[in-house]
Amino acid sequence: MSEKKKPILVVNNLKKYFRTKKGLLHAVDDVSFTIDEGRTLGVVGESGCGKSTLGKTILRLTEPTGGEVFLEGEDIVSMNEKQLRKTRLKMQMIFQDPYSSIDPRMSVAQIISDPLKVNRLCGSRKEIDDRVDRMMDVVGLAPRLRDSYPHELDGGRRQRIGIARALALDPKFIICDEPVSALDVSIQAQIINILMDLKEEKGLTYIFITHDLSVVKHISDEIAVMYLGQCVEKASSDELFSQPLHPYTKALLAAIPVPNLSKRHARPTVIRGEVGNPIDPAPGCRFAPRCDFATEKCVGRNPELREVANGHFVACLLHNGEM
């Protein structure tokens, strides 16, 4: 604890429920965390566990059902439209799908300049053009692509456009929602290098959402593991990989396909049971139906997220000293 940490984002008890025909769908349920400036929080978890919703709710692209989100001390949840638009200049998002996240009717330059235009940030055309050129340079897009249209470009280049667009407003904080999942390994490595360089140069703070655990380990300082809308474990990246505590985290780590033949013929590890239902979940540990260590104590009461070692939080009765 030598340098002084300054929290840039504080999320308290954030909730997002969707109303559906079958009942309330708890997409994000009571998630809290803090990110210090210049750090990267990795968020991993099963498909549908609410990672994207978490990202979108923090940006208020969907209205939270409850909770608080402070960006540099300002509460985003209670802001009105105007304040929100101003605050959004500081936080941006890189989206999951490089195909659907950029408007096919706009050229590369138009896409990157759109944030500047709608916020009326640059006075002259020249200023906008300069800025677009600089952004393209930063993310490694050749200047000749300025007037190309997205359909002429491959996924890697499209994702670079998405990154350039997010950077155009010079944000401090970026939510990367699976920015490399749709890209192949070599391009993925190029994009990750860009993101890491940017972080270095500009002191950016990231939330890095992914389901690729090898990527998340590489890029994150801390990792939060989500299960059915809740954060079940949070620790520094090294600690999580060396000392996973929550049974779900353990299963997750065991399921990583490794690019060598050591695990071949060992049947892929499958967590038994069905993916739980996020609609009107009963109180209790949501992993219980699939957990090998579940006891009757696990049902009926929510295990709290508790700090069990320095900076290592886990929400499991096994490790909470309650069992």
């Binding site: 099963e46 799908d97 890697g156 749709a182 490595a189 590489h218 399921a255 690019p259 239902n277």
Partner: protein
């Protein structure tokens, strides 16, 4: 040479071009591969390598205005698919014997139709005998559960599902007719590892039960290691290395491109600051380099590589097209 009895699919010297405006995109340039019943072949390569085009050519779903199969044969269960009339293709082969799991789940699903109805529709379309509505309903429920989605969610529209769930619905649609060959175009790219493991295990199980063969298109070398019997590495429309998983992963006689692919992966064992992607990009398919197509990016490029296209060097079932290993003689001269 093979007892053609258990040979399911044999693609030979497939060449596909796209005529785009006044240009010709050389997307697939002489791909040969074969697949036995129940076998899984991994088709690996960077974006733009021509993996999807190869798959589409097999299923004959290439855009008919722009794409053209210039050369080659695709033999499936003894028939040359390139000569089968379209209505036979539609009612008996495509979706029924050969199913495809499309790369992009959103464009494969109808945004204004409930997902359950979409599965039911696939079922009705391909079933010769009439199924009662209850039977269909039952099978829809079963299929959804097979891919790990609660059956109540069949009333949802695609936009109400997460990205991974949509992909699983697409997989469910492909599986519902119990095909003999599945072409899975990056089926688990949008899924997290646990669901991925589950889906792969499920595909595996189905394969064992029904003897389903699979072409698994992916760029995840981890999945390939787990799932596949054989691997074909594609680059710029060509297969540059093919062999059994053991041969490819042994690192012996490895193509420099394959080496690059392995090198781009973040290593879970040790923490590095930077990753080492293959420099540069896939060449422009309208203007491919002469000689070895990988030469502009290859760290071990030699003079000969810029002029002469390497042929296969063969060692057992392992074939590599690279001058480092002799580079064979002519190309594609089987036997």
């Amino acid at each position: 040479m093979n007892t053609s009895n258990n040979m399911l699919l044999k693609v030979e010297n497939l060449q596909v071009v796209y005529k785009a405006r006044r240009e010709t995109v050389y997307a697939v340039n002489g791909v040969s591969l074969s697949l036995k019943k129940g076998e899984t072949l991994g088709l690996v390569g960077e974006t733009g390598a021509g993996k999807t085009t190869t798959a589409y050519a097999i299923l004959r779903v290439l855009p008919d205005r722009t794409a053209k199969v210039v050369n080659g044969t695709i033999e499936f269960e003894g028939k040359n698919l390139l000569e089968v009339p379209e209505n036979l293709m539609r009612h008996g082969i495509r979706g029924e014997k050969i199913a495809i799991i499309f790369q992009d789940p959103m464009s494969a699903l109808n945004p204004i139709m409930k997902v359950g109805d979409q599965i039911a529709e696939a079922l009705k379309f391909h079933n010769k005998e009439e199924l009662s509505p209850e039977k269909i309903e039952e099978q829809v429920d079963r299929t959804l559960e097979l891919v790990g989605i609660q059956k109540e969610r069949k009333y949802d529209f695609p936009h109400q599902l997460s990205g991974g769930m949509k992909q699983r619905v697409v997989i469910a649609i492909a599986l519902v007719c119990e095909p003999v060959l599945i072409i899975a175009d990056e089926p688990t790219t949008a899924l997290d590892v646990t669901i991925q493991a589950q889906v792969l295990a499920m595909i595996d199980e189905l394969r064992e039960k029904l003897g389903t063969a699979m072409i698994l298109i992916t760029h995840d070398l981890g999945i390939v290691a787990q799932m596949c019997d054989n691997v074909a590495i594609m680059y710029a429309g060509e297969i540059i290395e093919i062999g059994s998983v053991e041969e490819i992963y042994s690192g012996k006689m490895q193509h420099p491109y394959t080496t690059g692919l392995f090198g781009s992966l973040p290593d879970l064992e040790k923490k590095t600051d930077r990753l080492y992607p293959i420099e540069g990009l896939m060449p422009d398919p309208t203007d491919l380099p002469t000689g070895c197509k990988f030469n502009p990016r290859c760290p071990r490029c030699m003079d000969i590589c810029r002029e002469v296209q390497p042929g296969f060097s063969v060692e057992g079932t392992h074939r590599v097209a690279c001058h480092l290993y002799g580079g064979g003689t002519g190309r594609e001269t089987d036997e």
